[in-house]
Amino acid sequence: MSIYKPELSSTDKASTDKEVAALIATLHETGRRLEELTGGEVDAVLGRDGAPFVLRHAQAELRRHEAARQAAILNALPAHIALIDNQGAIVSFNRAWQGFAETNGLPAPSYGIGINYLDTCDKACGGDEAAEGIRSVLAGNLSSFAMEYPCHSPTQQRWFLMTVTPSSHDAKTGAVIMHLNITDRTQAELGIKRLNRVYAVLSEINALIVRVHDRDELFREACRIAVETGGFLMAMIGIVDRATNKLVPVASAGKDEQFLTAISNLLSSDEKASTTMAAKAIRNKAAIISNDSEGDPGALFRENHTRARVRSLAVLPLIVSGEAVGILALYAREKDFFHDEEMKLLTGLADDIALAINHIDRQERLDYLGSYDPLTGLANHRLFLERLALLTRGAADNGHRLALFLIDLERFKNFNDSLGQPAGDALLQQVAQWLTQHLDDVNRVARVGADHFAVVLPEESHAGDAVGQLEAMVEALLLHPFRLKGDVYRIAAKFGVAIFPDDGPDATILFKNAEAALKKAKVEGHRHLFYTQKMTENVAQRLSLENQLRQALGKDEFVLHYQPKVNLASGEITAVEALIRWNDPRSGLVPPGLFIPILEETGLIYDVGLWALHQALRDYLRWRAAGLHAVRIAVNVSPLQMRHPGFVALIKQIVASDARAAQGLELEITEGTIMGDMKQAIASLQAIRALGIRIAIDDFGTGFSSLGYLSKLPIDTLKIDRMFVIDMATDEQGLSLVSTIINLAHSLHLKVVAEGVETEEQSHLLRLLKCDEMQGYLFSKPVPVDVLEQQFLYKRSGK
């Protein structure tokens, strides 16, 4: 230690500086001497410019220090670290790096100093990504690079994280490569995922067990869930066949045919079957796992597993009442899948499935006894109610109705008393058979009492369906010859009907109400009765109307009335619209609103519509022949007719009867008729129009009111609905709407007819708006053909 103490006074500072500077100059040349002089206590001296000069011993020590410290830090790290130069050559590495290479038996030249690490990566399987990352960092394109990768040793599964960072701010000087073993973390993650998969399978299969009542479905669904939810490669359930004492696969999922066949063969072979894992699981009543099915000598199936990419499997016995009745086999595509925690869950799962098997077995026996009528084999009351409940739920979901018929065989007691019970039983069996055949579905029929049967029918949309079906059944039952002891008997029955959901929101109430209806029918002596009185009335009325309408065509009770269409400019009759009227012999002319909807619902409209076409054509041709003012007749065509595939051919046939026929016809169709299947409608209309028949859109504006589609349609005439005509005279908006329709139609070269014109004012306005024709009470109501002829068609020739 040397102490010198001239104070920092400015006067002698300069001279001291000078002296010291001279001294330093000397010392700079003889650093050794300085170290000696200062007893080794000085590290650095500063030059004239203040630049420090580290003395040699301090310098060496500093370097040694620094290197030792860095090495210590690097060696203390668990990560494998190496420094590479900008060409990728390894410059140095830490102990972990070396240790890893040594314990993994890597040859020294593949990891040591001077080795090009990029080459090593390029050669390694899957090292492309790593090499690419390192190159990007060395080139300065990436500020750092990281990737996780698996690197499994022969004994152990391992995962690593590799990071590459530049060794200084200037990436061009090289980079630090670090590999960190992240196996624990990765395995923990994988373990959680694996366990979650098993949990999901467990919870879904438990939900299945509660729901399912059928063994096959249970097995099939359980396998499906294991594969779809659990991500297992395959799942299989096998059951021990008691007769042969061999295991038979009963359900599987995800399995390829070849594999399944191989398993089946193995299980059925005499000598090998007993050595399978499945056989062991059954013998020991304990789960067997193979977490490396490729390397496990206990798994007989190595090649098949390898081919099917199975890496681990578990076979769990299904134990019912202490006996292993089968196995659940799960195949995973991951090695080492089945750990303790998974097995705990899966064993629980196998127990649950076994429990369900047991439950279903018992249930099936009980079910049969408790659910079926032993005499007829039909469902009994209890089962029928269950089925009805299912059907009502389904119907509610789909917005359908259901019709429940309760059927009481009339005078069955007398029958039984006079012919004996065996004959009575035989009759019940025959009725059961007849009902089953009639409905073509045994699940919709039941015997619900001594001489009571129940039938449930689906209804598409309205109550009318049930009525038709009921009528058909009543009639068919009455007509059916039942043969007993060589004689033929005819059976009459009473029906009580309840409609779901109208007459009851669920199966029980519906059934009760059908019973009430049946009771009432018996008391009041009706053949059948609906639970709702109004319905019974409606149905009765409707049925009779329907029946009469069916006969009306044959009895020639339909007539055509004609309503003239008048040219607004000239006032002349230009055409007529044919309107169907029903001349009921009992009540006279029936308003169209009362019977047209029924014609449509029953499909009768097709035949009646056809009749109208024929009749109109006959009238037209007669007018021509008689020299009358033969105007074109517009006939309404229903959607049902338009959709009929033979309709166009039929029209062709009709007009082919006379060369002038086509020019006497116009077909009026509504917007709705076209909108259903526009493409087909357009094709049909084009074909009809090509014959020379005109097409008019009826009630325009009441349907979809899309003016846009008009231009696409092959039509001649637009008929403005009466509602617009009424509105036109009452408010301005209505007027402008009609004006718009007329202008648009004209721009599309369509003729415009206004319907329902009743006042002079309306007629006046329409004329102003340049509407072409009008039709309505103002000019004439629809009139019988003779009136039309006398009043309107004679006009021209008469004057």
């Binding site: 103490k5 920092l8 001291t16 330093i24 200062t38 650095a44 001296v45 500093l62």
Partner: protein
């Protein structure tokens, strides 16, 4: 004046070092130990690394490291070395009485 008499004297040190070199590190450690033991709560230490601030070494006329400069109380003093001989250093700093 009375007030000033009662106030403890503040020692102000500036220690010039050369990075992490051994002697410099020792000097820092020794100075801190000395101050903790003999001048608690009445000292300030400024460390100047000549590698980073050579101009300040020039300004203070320091040509070797480690060098301790006592800026206050006056008179100023400078001591070169590791400061490991505690007694000599205390004497040099005029703290010999305290050390006993």
């Amino acid at each position: 004046m009375t007030l000033a008499m009662n106030e403890p004297v503040q020692y102000q040190f500036r220690l010039f070092v050369a990075g992490d070199t051994t002697n410099s590190a020792q000097a820092i450690a020794n100075l801190r130990a000395l101050c903790r033991a003999h001048l608690p709560d009445r000292h300030t230490i400024e460390i100047v690394d000549v590698f980073h601030e050579p101009a300040r070494a020039l300004a203070d006329g320091v040509f070797m490291t480690p060098t301790l400069v006592k800026l206050g109380p006056l008179p100023g003093q400078r001591i070169v070395g590791t400061l490991s001989q505690l007694h000599a250093v205390l004497q040099a700093l005029g703290l010999g009485g305290i050390a006993e």
